[in-house]
């Protein structure tokens, strides 16, 4: 009854989250974490989610797959699958053993290239290590704007058979890979199979905007562990990362400008203004909204008629939140194919060949006419010889 309630809640959240979805695949719950015990016998239910009418098969994977049976091999439009696990009395290899109960979509959505889903529920069997053995379950950092706090979250687990004491801290490195701060997270005594989450919020008032690396270090009785994550501190700035460089002469041209947000919050109504330097040519782009750290594209059009040089410059201005980013960029015209020249040369060659052919034909005709003038005399001579013979 308890599991059914879990499924109902999980399914409810998936339905809410997948509102207006085009095609959804999923499984609830995604994972069962189980501490190994000899001969463990248990049933685990996974509720697979596929779109209505979608066929999928069900399978088992993993090094302990032989110890699992499932009650279904096919699903239509998803549904629950019960995995019955009966573990052996002993598993030789300590650590995490993953049993996957998966369901693979059998029907393609069509198109030249289509994508289908294959989702795997996990039964994670944790086999304790002999002696003292700690792991970092996870380590997360968050992004922020410069001056706002950064949250650090570290989870440490004892996977050994003995108690351990852990002490943890996080070291922050800047873009030049120089250590700038060490933040102690705390210490704890962990019994076998237990986990401890350390969390801390740190001030970034003394940090500059940019990319940072956080390295979490856990020291315990039998050794040391570390894991790193990167995080970014934002500043209200929109950069110009790319733009169209080549255009066609005397035509209406589209100019694309790729912009990038360095701000950890959304920026609304960002638009560009482009002035061709030295000419009275100026255009605005429609505005776009930027999500945190997002790249997006602004596009506008200008008439290149009147620009004489092959290479010219433009002043791009990006407007956002009352601020501007300026960049003077070098632009040029594409080398155009001179079809008139091609036509003239081609026509000249053709005309030359035509004249030469005409001359040759006239010469041949002239020679034949000469021959024809001579042949009647010869024929008459032949007739006279014939009369003499008679």
């Amino acid at each position: 009854m308890k599991k059914e309630a879990f499924f109902a809640i999980g399914l409810f959240f998936i339905i809410i989250l997948s509102f207006d979805a085009k095609a959804v695949v999923g499984v609830s719950p995604g994972i069962y974490e189980v501490e190994f015990s000899p001969g463990l016998t248990e049933n685990y239910v996974f509720r697979f989610i596929f779109d209505e009418g979608v066929d999928s098969d069900v399978y088992i994977e993993g090094d302990l797959a032989d110890y699992v049976k499932i009650n279904k091999e096919k699903l239509v439009g998803g549904g629950p699958v019960m995995a019955s696990v009966k573990l052996p009395d002993k598993i030789e290899i300590p650590g995490d053993h993953r049993i996957y109960i998966g369901s693979r979509q059998l029907t393609s959505p069509g198109g030249t290239i289509g994508i289908v889903g294959n989702v795997k529920g996990v039964i994670l069997i944790k086999v304790p290590y002999p002696g003292k053995y700690a792991i970092i379950d996870y380590f997360y950092t968050t992004n922020a704007n410069q001056g706002d706090p950064i949250n650090l979250t570290l989870s440490v687990g004892n996977l050994g058979k003995e108690n351990i004491n852990v002490d943890s801290f996080v070291e922050i490195y800047d873009e030049k890979n120089q250590s700038i701060e060490v933040i102690p997270l705390g210490s704890a005594a962990l019994e076998p199979t237990s986990h401890k989450i350390f969390s801390k919020s740190i001030s970034t008032l003394n940090y500059k905007p940019g990319d940072y690396r956080a390295v979490a270090v856990v020291k315990y009785d039998a050794g040391e562990l570390s894991q790193q994550r990167s995080f970014r501190l934002g500043t209200l700035y929109v950069g110009i990362s790319n733009y169209t460089r080549e255009f066609q002469r005397d035509k209406l041209n589209q100019m694309n400008i790729e912009i990038e947000s360095f701000w950890n919050d959304p920026i609304e109504k960002v638009y560009g203004e482009v002035q061709i330097i030295g000419y009275d040519i100026k255009f605005l782009t429609p505005s776009v909204d930027l999500k945190p750290w997002q790249k997006n594209q602004l596009s506008g059009f200008f008439d290149a008629t009147g620009i004489e040089e092959n290479k010219f410059q433009a002043n791009i201005t990006i407007n956002y939140e009352g601020q501007k980013t300026n960049k003077i960029v070098d632009l040029k015209f594409k080398r155009e194919t001179d079809y008139a020249l091609y036509a003239l040369v081609g026509g000249g060659i053709f005309f030359g060949i035509f004249i030469i052919s005409l001359v040759i034909a006239m010469v041949i005709l002239f020679i034949r006419m000469k021959k024809n003038e001579k042949s009647p005399l010869k024929e008459r001579g032949v007739e006279k010889d014939a009369k003499k013979n008679k």
Binding site: G117, N143, Q294
Partner: protein
Amino acid sequence: MKTDNMLLIVAIIAVVVSIVGAGMTYSYIIAFKSKLTGFATGAGWVNLTVEENIAINFTNDTVNWGSGMVTPGKSSATFNTSATGNTNMTDGNWTGNTNGLNIENIGNKNVTLKLKSATNGSAFIGGSAGGGPVFKMRVNDSAEPHSCVYNISNATWFNPNQSGDGELICDYFDYGNGNDEIRIDFYVVVPSDSLTGARGNTITATIAAA
């Protein structure tokens, strides 16, 4: 006269029904009132457990270029869903496509993401002209940065893997709102002597709890 009597009877019935209804409402309110004290003398627990679930949404699950052919005289046509303008589709008369495929993590847990292709370029497209067929993929999260902790470089076009569950793309495919979406782009070269007819390929996205 008859009509007046009829109206009088109806009015009397209406008054009686109203009085009975008002009486019943009053009695219900009195009974209900006795159950309300207005005092809270103890603490209560609301117990709610949210289960971890994994789910992805294919917000765009197909890429179509329609029907077309390599421009006569050209050895091959090139498609690049990540490119805009003239380079999106060159030397052919297919309809360009700039959409790619989009996957959003709509669960409440980070997942691993692998991508597998059913076929390679030779089986999918065939032919040998212009260096032969090419079928490559690239994954990026530039629309929602930090959605994916990449196992492969997000700037690299790679030949899709066809074995097992395919290529591991994201060690962690984040579920956080605003950084939970990736895009898959395709780079395809179709030789002038390619296989003809409707060509199709299926990409399988495999997810599991990270």
